[in-house]
Every structure is written in structure tokens, then in C-alpha cells.
Amino acid sequence: MTFTEGAPKPAIDAKQTHITTTWKNTTPLIACCFDPQGRYLFTSSEDTPVQRWEIATGKKTVYTGHESWVRDIACLPDGKTVVTVGSDDTMIFWPTTGDAPKPIRTITAHKGWVRTVSVSPDGKLIATGGNDNLVKLWNATDGKLVREIPGHESNVYSTLFHPTGKFLLSGDLNGQVKQWDVASGKLIRTFDAKELHTYNGSQQVHYGGVRGLAISPDGKYLACCGLHKATNPLGAVNEPLVLLYEWESQKKVRSHVAAGVRGIGWELTYLTDGTLVCASGGSGGGFLLFFKPDNGKEFHKFKLPDTARAMAKHPDSLQLATIHADRNVRISRVTAKPPAPKAVPKKT
């Protein structure tokens, strides 16, 4: 769906969310990321390649180079480089364009899976987190390690740079969100989101973790998501949960839950109007859950055709891509549908 250049930008209306685009991949999908110019959506799948989907045409280009699943994807702001991290311990820098893209740089980034990658707002730093319980900062220009940041006591599931670029946030399996000073690598404080972690004694498993992080556009809130009510972790019996904290005071102000939804909160993003969106997926199906900070319950719940596994926000802030176990990429608009073209009267 395209809108006329120069026309007023449609207003966000979450309750009017609708799917505009569906593309089918050959294997189930894992992660996704828009490039900053909004030309492409990058995805990864349950084999080893990365896919680049041209938004305008749906044309798919395959990137091969990883030895295992790609778990997260991020783009540098200049739109020239995309970075992927995977279960093969590596981080790969790729060109965003080209018909047969080859790795620019391959780095053994962590010992064990690299689960998360983020790019600083100025594009100079890359942050990764992995199964070695470490957070690492890398120079985005040459890929050199800038700093290794120990401190987590479980696998690092998510990372996010604060919009000021001064801080890095990282969330782990135990439900701890740490705020680091980017310049020094020192721990500033920890947000205790242990509600996102479960240890099930009868199944003897740790489960949950901070799957997604987001900072509100006004900088007032930190949101993190995952799951709770994990009565049967091995059987996917759990519900998504979003925890909302005041950034300054660290006070938890809200637990966002969605009635009747089973699954995991995989990813979070804020729309420009302050609406918090959580992509959930699991045994209850896939949803886009829309929250406002003054209410614990969602004000809208958009059912997706299949369980969602990840979400990315288009630079226009009006489109959300979700990727799915049924191999489909789906792009949804959080606006009203444009009016249908007027029917041309038939000539009599």
C-alpha cells in the first residue's frame, strides 16, 4: 500500500490496523528488521540464510554466510550496512544492496549464540549480547571490539541503546535489565523484571527472559516484555507480559497483560503517538497488542493469521512487519484503510 508523495501523513489509528502485504518464504522465519530508509525488510529463517525483501516489489534476495540460525538483525543508519548475529557465535556485516551480497566482515563475537544486536543512534557503535552472559560493544566502522561488559548472570536476550546514545540497556533470561554507561561500560543501575523469569521445579527448567525492550518517544518510560504464568513451560502454557517502568524513578508503573492471550511477548516498539505495541506469539496464536501507559489492559488486540515470532517498525512509524512460523512475512498498517477508489460508471 502506498500513499501519494506530499499528501498528509495518515494518522495512527491502532484500532484500524490491517495487513497490507504478505510474502511467503521457503522456511519458517525468526527475526526481522527494516532498513532505515524503508526500502527493504531483512528477515532470517530456520535454515541459515538471511532474506532481503524489497518493500515496493516483494523481490527476495538471499544472503548466505552464516553456519546456523540468524537470531537478530540490525541496520546502520546510513543504510549501507546490515548486521546479523547468529547461533554460530558470529556477527556478519553485509551490504544492504546488490544482487549477490557477500559478507563484508565476519566476527566471532561471543562464545555461544549471539542472541541480540543493536546499533547506537549515531551509528558508531554496535552492541551484542549472547549465551556467554556478556554484552559487547563494537566499532561499527571496522568491527573492532570496543568493550566487553560482564555483569549478567544468565544469557543476554535483548539489547537497546537509549535514544541519547549515552546508555545501553540489556535484558537477560533471569529478568534483569541492566543500564550501562556506554562511555565507560560501567553499570549504572538494574531494573528488576524478575516477573519475566520462571523456574519450574518439576520440569527443572528456567524459562522466560527479557525478550524485548523499548523506550517511549518522550523518554518517560522503559518497557520490557516476555512472559509470565508459565504453568507448563515445556508445553507452551504461558501468557505475554509487558512491564512498564518510569525511566527516572525506576518505579514500575504498570504490568500490561492481554486477556485471553497465550504466548510470549517477543518484541516491543512505540508508535510516535506514544502507543506501545507488543508482538506476541505462542499457543494462543499471534497478536499485535496495543497499550497506553495509563491502563494495564490492551486497548486493542489485532489477531494475526499465525503465531508471530518477531516484529519490526518501518521508519514511517505506520507499518509493522511481523514474521511467522507459517513462513510468511506480514506487513500491517496502523492506520485506517484508504478509501476504495471510486467506481467508474460503465458506459451505457
Partner: protein, 425 residues
């Protein structure tokens, strides 16, 4: 007047008296009950043992013994080389990979079953569960066939958290003496002399009992009175050896090496029990029933398994016990090659694997094969019946032999099957 043994009680705690109660079935002396006494005598001389590591819930063969990396079913883990050239296993098993020259794999199991209960029964009893028929657990068979006749200890041990001596009901026609006893790292309950009883008083009490028994037996000796007497003798041995069950007697540095978590402690206890001549020990690791987030959970579980299991295999080898101890890592089934919507794998008995070693198992062997993405067996298909025969043969038993149960021969293993001969040395 007949003695009332504790087995008549509803209480299932393996107290000393209940252990004695198991004797009331009238089968005394495991090897003596076999139909081939000559074989039994040989086994007494060269005692064999069995260690089962039970991966409860269904270990994924793709995340362990038969990885299929870079396929549509392979998942995120890579395969790594092992101590045996050409054999690759999951990267989740780096320590075990270094010991693969002591172990072997069967990658072609098709048990045609996806049910937990039926699968557990198949793999631990060697037969399908059928209405109206019950067969003894592998542990009961081992206890009966491999226990020295003069053993004062239970021969069929399961190690589990909180196990205080619970007695199982899994010996079928072999009788309760061979049923499992569950221990958790401490001596069985009530196996210590009561504090109010001095050693001298205890000795006097036993002497008096013996004297009375002898007087009674001289006039009215029966099989029951013999069993009664024997039970007391066994109980005394159990009391004397109760520390065998106490894992805290093992060096702290060994616990460090095995891992300070339940499975690490249980493996260390298994070593202690096997070293002390107990013929069958089963350690379980839980839980692999990963319909959801199979990869995160296998990462967590298999990593824990690898450390403790490798420490145990290494110790059994360096202490000279591996030659006489069959080791089997089994589950009730494997897991589906297809990855479900929740990154899970479901139940799969069609093409999966076990790992085994020790005893007569040829080290470094791989039996059977699955196709490229693990969805079917392509070579040397076997099932639980073949495996059960192989286990028995690996500890020197003739798996086609029968137990003599009240004058009736009952085959130890399914007579329509046989062992995997090429896996046996």
C-alpha cells in the same frame, strides 16, 4: 504363627523392615534362580553392572547423537567432531565428544510409538506394554541376574531427588525383592540403629533372635522361616553399609567436577553405588519433553548432562569399571525432526538414537543411519526388543535364556528378537 512382614503394609517407604519384606516372595539369591547355573557362577566371579541414564521426556536425537545441521529440520546447533574420526555429535556435548572412543551410538531406532508411558515401558522392559501381561523392568532383571547371591543390598537402584528409599512396583514376576529402590543421596530411612539402642544391646538382641530362630528351625524349618532369617541377615548388612548411599562421603572436589546440581550429585552417587558393587543404577535427567522452545531448553539441559555424564564415564574408565559396566543413555522416544510453531519438537519414535558403552559394547561404533534430515531410518532399523537383548548380552548374559519362575521358564527378553550382534565384542 506366621510372621507378618512389612510388605503387607500400605506404606511404601523403603524402611529396613520393608526391604526385608521383599524377601517374602520366596525367591532367594538372584543368580540361583537362573536356568543356567554355570553361567550364574561365572557372573558371580566377574560381576557386571548396569548404569542407565534416563533422559526423561524424550531427548532430541537432533540435539544430541544424530545432528543434522544446515537442514530444514536441523535447528540452530552445529555438529562437532568427536574422539572417533568420522563421528559427529551435537555441539551441546563437547565433553562427551572427547570420550566417544569409549561410547557407541545406535541411530536407527524405530519404536513405532509416540506415547510417554508406552515408550518408557518399551525402553526399560524391552517389550510392548500389553493388557494382562507385565514384565520386569531392566533394573529388576539386572538385579536378579547380576546380584551376588550373598549381597545384602538392594540390586535395583533409582537415583532421584528426595528419594528416601521408596520401593517401586516394577519387578513383575521376579518378585518385590528386585523392585526398584529410590535413593536421593542419603542412606535409606530407618537404616540406622536407633539412638536409644546401644551397640551392645543390639548385639545381644540379635544373638537372642538367632538363638530362638535356630531352636525354631531345628524343629519346624520351612522356606518361609529361611527367608525370614535371611532377611534379617540382609538388613544387618544394609545397616552396616548404609553409608554407600551417602553421596556426601565423596570428595568435595569430585562434586565440583560433576557439577553442584541435582544431576551432578546423582551421577556422583551412581559412581559410588557402582563401585560398591550394586548391579543396576538408574539416574534420570529431567526434562526433555520440549514441545516449546526445544532449543533453549536443550541448551540448558544437555549442557548440564554433558558435564556430569562425561565426568562419570571418565571415572568409570580410569577406575577400570567401564569394562564391566554397561552404560545406556535412553529416553522413551526421540523428538520430531519438524520444528513446530513454538520452536518446539514433539514426540517421535520413528527415527531416533541411544548412546551406550561399556561391557561388551564395541567402543566407537555407530549402528544404523537416518536420512539427510532425520525423518526416516535408512539403514539397520532396530527397536526396543533388539536393544533389550543387546543390553543383556553386553553384560554377559545369554539374552535368549529364561528365568525359572516357580518351575516355569520365562524368557528374559522378547524371544522373537535378538541382540545387535555387530555392536558386541
Amino acid at each position: 504363627m506366621k510372621c507378618k512382614y512389612a510388605c503387607q503394609s500400605d506404606e511404601h517407604t523403603f524402611a529396613r523392615r520393608q526391604f526385608l519384606g521383599g524377601m517374602a516372595g520366596g525367591i532367594v539369591g538372584g543368580l540361583g534362580a537362573m536356568t543356567q547355573p554355570a553361567v550364574a557362577a561365572k557372573l558371580v566371579k566377574e560381576q557386571k553392572r548396569v548404569l542407565v541414564v534416563y533422559m526423561s521426556g524424550g531427548l532430541s536425537q537432533l540435539e544430541s547423537w544424530d545432528p543434522k545441521p544446515k537442514t530444514d529440520t536441523g535447528g540452530p546447533f552445529r555438529a562437532i567432531p568427536t574422539a572417533v574420526p568420522g563421528i559427529h555429535i551435537s555441539e551441546l556435548l563437547p565433553s562427551t565428544a572427547k570420550l566417544m572412543n569409549h561410547l557407541s551410538l545406535i541411530r536407527s531406532i524405530n519404536t513405532k510409538n509416540n506415547d510417554h508411558g508406552k515408550g518408557r515401558y518399551q525402553m526399560t522392559h524391552g517389550r510392548n506394554k500389553m493388557p494382562g501381561a507385565d514384565f520386569p523392568h531392566f533394573g529388576a532383571v539386572s538385579a536378579k541376574a547380576l546380584s551376588p547371591a550373598d549381597s545384602g543390598l538392594p540390586g535395583h537402584i533409582r537415583v532421584s531427588n528426595g528419594g528416601g528409599g521408596n520401593r517401586g512396583n516394577d519387578a513383575a514376576y521376579l518378585g518385590p525383592k528386585f523392585a526398584s529402590v529410590t535413593v536421593g543421596g542419603k542412606p535409606p530411612k530407618n537404616s540406622a540403629r536407633d539412638k536409644s539402642l546401644t551397640p551392645t544391646a543390639d548385639q545381644l538382641r540379635n544373638s537372642f533372635r538367632k538363638k530362638m530362630n535356630e531352636g525354631f528351625s531345628a524343629k519346624r524349618r520351612t522356606a518361609e522361616t529361611d527367608a525370614y532369617t535371611y532377611s534379617y541377615e540382609q538388613a544387618q548388612q544394609l545397616m552396616a553399609k548404609r553409608d554407600i548411599f551417602d553421596v556426601t562421603k565423596e570428595p568435595a572436589k569430585d562434586l565440583e567436577r560433576y557439577g553442584k546440581y541435582d544431576f551432578g550429585r546423582h551421577c556422583l552417587l551412581a559412581r559410588r553405588l557402582l563401585e560398591n558393587g550394586l548391579p543396576f543404577v538408574q539416574v534420570s535427567h529431567s526434562n526433555y519433553d520440549t514441545h516449546n522452545e526445544n532449543f533453549n531448553f536443550h541448551l540448558e539441559q544437555v549442557g548440564e548432562f554433558d558435564r556430569s555424564f562425561a565426568a562419570l564415564i571418565s571415572d568409570l574408565n580410569t577406575r577400570g569399571l567401564l569394562e564391566s559396566t554397561l552404560v545406556v543413555v535412553m529416553s522413551e522416544f526421540g523428538r520430531t525432526p519438524r520444528i513446530n510453531k513454538y520452536y518446539g519438537r514433539d514426540h517421535w519414535g520413528t527415527a531416533w538414537s541411544v548412546c551406550l558403552g561399556g561391557g561388551r559394547i564395541k567402543p566407537g561404533a555407530v549402528i544404523g543411519k537416518t536420512n539427510k534430515n532425520g525423518t526416516a531410518v535408512t539403514d539397520r532399523q532396530v527397536d526396543h526388543g533388539h536393544l533389550f537383548h543387546t543390553y543383556l548380552a553386553a553384560v554377559g548374559l545369554d539374552s535368549s535364556a529364561s528365568f525359572d519362575i516357580g518351575g516355569r521358564p520365562i524368557p528374559m527378553a522378547d524371544p522373537s528378537m535378538g541382540p545387535i550382534e555387530e555392536l558386541l565384542s
